[in-house]
């Protein structure tokens, strides 16, 4: 550990001397900065900045780094060395943060600093390679210090993992969200005006109840809530019907039902909305048919609440299905058999035993639908029309003519409160699922078939819906293959050609299609983000499931919390937090990658937690008694057993990054445009052909990725992973 401390101290100091402290306009690639390391104000290293360019406030941080080196070199007892590193490294981190937040683009950031210390000549821009490495080195030294003092069982690896996860969550989830809070209380010039939020939130556009009186629209909050309520109830009913059919009847096409659950994963969220427009829009099939046969004037009913709700039901029913299938299977057949031996018939059993046992699961499914609905951005933006919900309202406040960041922040805050409220309710309900009857003991009973009445109802609800879903996907496929939907149904490949044409010239391949730019950017950024997402998520999962340390509950809470934040809120938060120093990355590819990573970390974490809970802890303990250290246990025992989870996290990290809209819609630029945001803009401009063709291409690509991976890892499942008997601990 002492050698690690020495290495990190040296790395930090080298970065302070040999790399530009601040971010460079053209990055480090060109190498032109090497010449200016001591002479150019832009490219100077931390040391040069503090000596030659008057940025004296960097000096204390550098001194702390030097202090770490001294502590590492002195012949000290481990605990003493740990204390030293903790003081020097921790002090360095604090000094770093203090100067970074105190001095900004316009000198002192805060008024009281200005009045206290006088006008400041110098300014500073966002941090660059030098500053970043110095910060990472300091954080690593703090971890080593903690481990030397005996924290985390004296294991530097665990301490380092812990610091990595905590620091990144703080920086890229907590900090942006806190920034939103601040923004909501500031006016356009950044001055603090606490009462402003009252004005912003008291607007009639948010709370109006006029729709009840039948005149005009309701406020966006009511819209959002009502939509979410309907979506939650609807998707739960539909999901339950599917789940009952899949597990409790002899229905012959259960495989197809399972396919339905994959669809929403690979489909960008607004595609269903597009399909509905093809069917019910003004020039959609149904309207044309009515017009042609009965002379009914086409209406615009699909644009608004009914359309958005319909789209959300299609999009989120599979999610509810996934939740409920576990719930239905969790009802112990033995209990139902017991009920029948007590002379209850099938219907009594279903109503008095099975349904009540599912109650917490049903509530959970409802809240999942509710949360998905309020976080949804794609469908309301495509189908909403005048029916505004919070997520779209935020979008228009940021990119629309209003350009009112304060309002966007206030609305985001409102959305956040709603989402977190539902999330906590859900956590409480999931926490009380104690009578889900999965005991680990062999439960050999047979699931009781559904009573006939219930089966008929489930069939009548679910089967037409499933057929309709497949129909919608069929329309999506066809929509890209005709000239102009609604007017000219001549088959054509024009839309695909426009999007994905390739020309071959002497200079090589020219990607001349309109979609290629955003397509390759998407694939590239998602491919960069996926491994980081999976690694960070699984590392966090490992810490939570397998390590015991003070503050574990807090870490778990923070991570869980970041799942519940709607994408729109995260997007706005990123824009606000990262377009000013110290982290000035708005408009770069980096911010999109970071957004992907921290939006989707949930996937890796959940997969990791689920998979690790299946691996008996005694395997870790066995490794420990066989002298394996924590990292060895992780790499030789846990990781090989987690391989399916790792692959899953990688794939879904990639797929979700490709299909996400809500968060990145604020972060894309002309240079770094993404597939989904490109399509959304096409749709808003009414260019459906190209949008649909592009969406199809994305769906096919995602499907190919998932099938390929399934094919590659599917068969290599291990024999018995969870060892069956859990010992009764004496």
């Amino acid at each position: 550990m002492s050698r690690a401390a020495l290495s990190w101290s040296i790395a930090g100091l080298l970065a302070a001397v040999l790399l530009p402290w601040y971010g460079l306009e053209d990055g480090l690639g060109s190498g032109a900065w090497i010449a200016g390391l001591w002479s150019s104000e832009d490219a100077a290293s931390g040391l040069a900045q503090s000596i030659f360019f008057g940025r004296w406030w960097l000096a204390p941080t550098l001194a702390a780094s030097l202090g770490c080196l001294v502590v590492s070199l002195l012949p000290l007892a481990p605990a003493r060395r740990g204390t030293g590193l903790l003081i020097a490294g921790g002090g360095g981190v604090v000094l770093f943060a203090a100067q970074a937040f105190a001095v900004g683009l316009r000198g002192w950031n805060a008024g009281w600093l200005l009045s206290l210390l006088g006008e400041m000549e110098q300014r500073q821009v966002g941090i660059g390679a030098g500053a970043t490495i110095v910060l990472i080195a300091l954080l690593s030294l703090v971890s080593i210090g903690l481990a030397l003092r005996g924290a985390f069982g004296g294991d530097a690896f665990v301490a380092g993992a812990m610091t990595t996860v905590t620091a990144s969550i703080l920086l890229f989830t907590a900090w942006p969200i806190l920034h939103i809070l601040a923004q909501a209380f500031q006016d356009q010039d950044g001055a603090l005006r606490p009462l402003l939020i009252v004005d912003r939130l008291a607007e009639s556009k948010i709370w109006s109840l006029r729709c009840l009186a039948g005149s005009g629209g309701c406020g966006v909050v009511w819209n959002t809530l009502f939509l979410a309520l309907c979506c939650g109830v609807g998707s739960t009913v539909l999901g339950l019907s599917f789940a009952l059919i899949a597990t409790r009847t002899s229905f012959g096409f259960k495989k197809i039902l399972r396919v339905l659950t994959v669809l929403p994963i690979i489909t960008p969220p607004f595609v269903i909305g597009l399909a509905l427009i093809l069917l019910f829009g003004r020039s959609g099939l149904v309207n044309q048919l009515l017009d042609w046969s009965f002379g009914v004037q086409p209406t615009r009913w699909i644009y608004g609440f009914p359309g958005v709700l319909l789209a959300q039901l299609f999009a989120f029913t599979p999610v509810a299905f996934l939740v409920l299938i576990g719930v239905v299977e969790g009802v112990s057949p033995t209990l139902e058999e017991a009920s029948q031996t007590l002379r209850a018939n099938r219907w009594d059993t279903f109503v008095t035993i099975s349904l009540p046992l599912m109650r917490p699961g049903l509530a959970n499914a409802f809240l999942v639908g509710f949360i998905e609905s309020i976080a949804d951005f794609g469908n309301p933006i495509v189908l909403g029309g005048n029916f505004g919900v919070l997520s779209t309202e935020i979008y228009f406040a940021v990119v629309g003519a209003q350009l009112d960041y304060g309002r966007a922040a206030a609305l985001a805050l409102l959305l956040l409160v709603l989402a977190l409220g539902a999330f906590f309710l859900q956590r409480r309900i999931v926490g009380t699922r104690s009578y889900a009857t999965i005991s680990g003991k062999g439960d050999s009973g047979l699931a009781t078939p559904l009573p006939d009445a219930a089966r008929r109802v489930a069939h009548w609800i679910a089967l037409p819906w499933a057929g309709f879903t497949l129909l919608l996907y069929g329309f999506i496929l066809m929509g890209g293959l005709v000239k102009v939907w609604g007017r000219d149904y001549t088959p054509t490949l024009d839309h695909y050609a426009k999007a994905f044409s390739i020309e071959f010239s002497e200079g090589g391949v020219i990607w001349s299609g309109a979609a290629w730019n955003s397509f390759w950017t998407t694939v590239e950024l998602a491919a960069i983000a996926a491994p980081i997402t999976a690694a960070l998520g699984l590392l966090a999962a490992w810490l939570m499931v397998r390590q015991r340390f003070a503050g574990r509950g807090a870490l778990e809470f923070a991570t869980m919390l970041s799942f519940a934040v709607p994408g729109t809120v995260i997007g706005v938060a990123y824009v606000f937090a990262f377009n000013v120093p110290p982290l000035e990355i708005t408009g770069t590819a980096l911010i999109i990658v970071l957004c992907f990573v921290f939006r989707n970390m949930t996937v890796g974490l959940r997969a990791g937690v689920a998979a690790m809970s299946q691996i008996d802890r005694s395997l870790d303990e066995a490794s420990a008694t066989l002298r394996g250290r924590a990292p060895q246990t992780l790499f030789y025992v846990v990781m090989p057993l987690l391989r399916p989870a790792i692959v899953g996290a990688l794939v879904y990290g990639f797929v979700r990054a490709v299909t996400t809209v809500s968060a990145v819609v604020f972060l894309v630029t002309a240079e770094y445009d993404l597939a989904t945001t490109y399509i959304i803009l096409r749709v808003i401009n009414g260019d459906y052909g190209l949008a649909i063709a592009y969406s199809c291409a994305l769906i096919v690509l995602m499907l190919a990725v998932i099938l390929l991976i399934q094919f590659l890892v599917g068969d290599r499942r291990l024999g018995r992973r969870a060892l069956p008997v859990q010992g009764v601990r004496a």
């Binding site: 030789y636 024999g719 992973r721 004496a730």
Partner: protein
């Protein structure tokens, strides 16, 4: 006593219980295990024996007290630095590794060279009778074989101490007897200090040099198997080890105690007239045919034929007594309802404190 290898000094472990608040899983346990000794922690579920073992291994840290192995304080040392072999109840074989790789694991992470790993693994697999099983995957093997792989894996790196956590509870009765003999033989052969946890008193008596009985987080008695059987300290130990009659007797003189209406010679310093608790094992009572209503007789309530012996429940005055009797050399068993004369073996009746 030989050199002490494992020393537990006043260790306690508390848990937060949702209803009861803070409860002690282990409370002020003191224990010394001599070098080469096999000590068994015996007790019912929830008595703290596994927690004690896990604290020796380092999976849990005691809230109070210290643990030392070979004179070195290891209370806060990570499991991988304690030099212990651990055999888990569920074997905890790495399912993704072959038998060879499972056994080689400890040597691998220590960075031993391939040749010496191969030698050590082959040797130890031979010792446990699994030569030529190297390439098998754990899930292809029977429970007993998996158990032996776990044993081989735990001893291959020559740990200072070997710990067993109910290692035989997943095996069927016959295999259990076979395996415990193997474990004992191996332990004696390499002379390794061993702590063994079980709830099965017969297993404990068969395998141990010494047994420590635990109840509610504390060691209530430790000693050899005959110690515990013939001279239990408490009612709990008396009931837990073997079958027992706990009878109330009355002291009638310095060397006589009365059970119901029968006098048994037993020297005691208790005051005459006081009531005492007696531990009388079923086999310490002899039965003989008697006439109806005679003094010192009881009536057969129930009998259970078990092959080598027959168990009887006998109404003896106001108490019910369990007795057993082998039919060999004696002739016919007693019918239900028959009158029998009880005679107690005074040498082995034990008086509880």
């Amino acid at each position: 006593m030989a050199k002490v290898s494992i020393q537990l000094s006043g260790i306690s472990k508390r848990f937060d219980h949702t209803v009861k608040g803070e409860v002690y899983a282990v409370r002020d346990v003191n224990l010394a295990v001599a070098e080469g000794e096999l000590l068994t922690l015996l007790g019912p579920s929830g008595c703290g024996k596994s927690t004690t073992l896990r604290m020796i291994a380092g999976f849990e840290e005691p809230d109070e007290g210290t643990i030392s192995i070979d004179g070195k304080d290891v209370t806060h040392v990570l499991p991988n630095r304690r030099g212990i072999g651990f055999v888990f109840q569920n074997y905890a074989l790495f399912p993704h590794l072959s038998v060879y790789e499972n056994v080689a694991y400890a040597l691998r992470v220590q960075g031993k060279d391939e040749a010496s790993i191969k030698r050590a693994v082959t040797d130890v697999l031979g010792v446990v009778g699994l030569a030529n099983y190297e390439r098998q995957q754990p899930h292809q093997m029977s429970g007993g074989e998996q158990q032996r792989v776990a044993l081989a894996r735990a001893v291959v790196f020559q740990p200072k101490v070997l710990l067993f956590d109910e290692p035989l509870s997943n095996l069927d009765a016959k295999l259990r007897v076979e395996m415990r003999e193997q474990i004992r033989a191996l332990q004696k052969r390499i002379g390794i200090t061993t702590v063994y946890v079980t709830h099965d008193q017969e297993e404990a008596m068969a395998i141990s040099d010494r047994i420590a009985v635990m109840e509610r987080g504390q060691i209530v008695q430790d000693g050899t198997a005959p110690d515990l059987y013939y001279r239990p300290n408490t009612e709990f130990v008396a009931r837990f080890i073997g079958r027992t009659n706990l009878l109330d007797g009355r002291v009638v003189s310095a060397n006589e105690v009365e059970i119901e209406d029968q006098r048994v010679s037993l020297s005691t310093r208790r005051p005459v007239g006081s009531t005492v608790r007696l531990v009388v094992r079923p086999e310490m009572i002899d039965l003989a045919a008697a006439g109806e209503g005679e003094a010192g007789t009881g009536r057969v309530l129930q009998r259970t034929f078990l092959g080598e012996k027959t168990d009887y429940d006998i109404q003896f005055g106001n108490t019910k007594i369990q007795a057993c009797r082998s039919d060999a050399f004696r002739g016919a068993a007693f019918e239900i309802g028959a009158s029998v004369r009880l005679s107690f073996d005074p040498a082995n009746i034990h008086l509880l404190a």
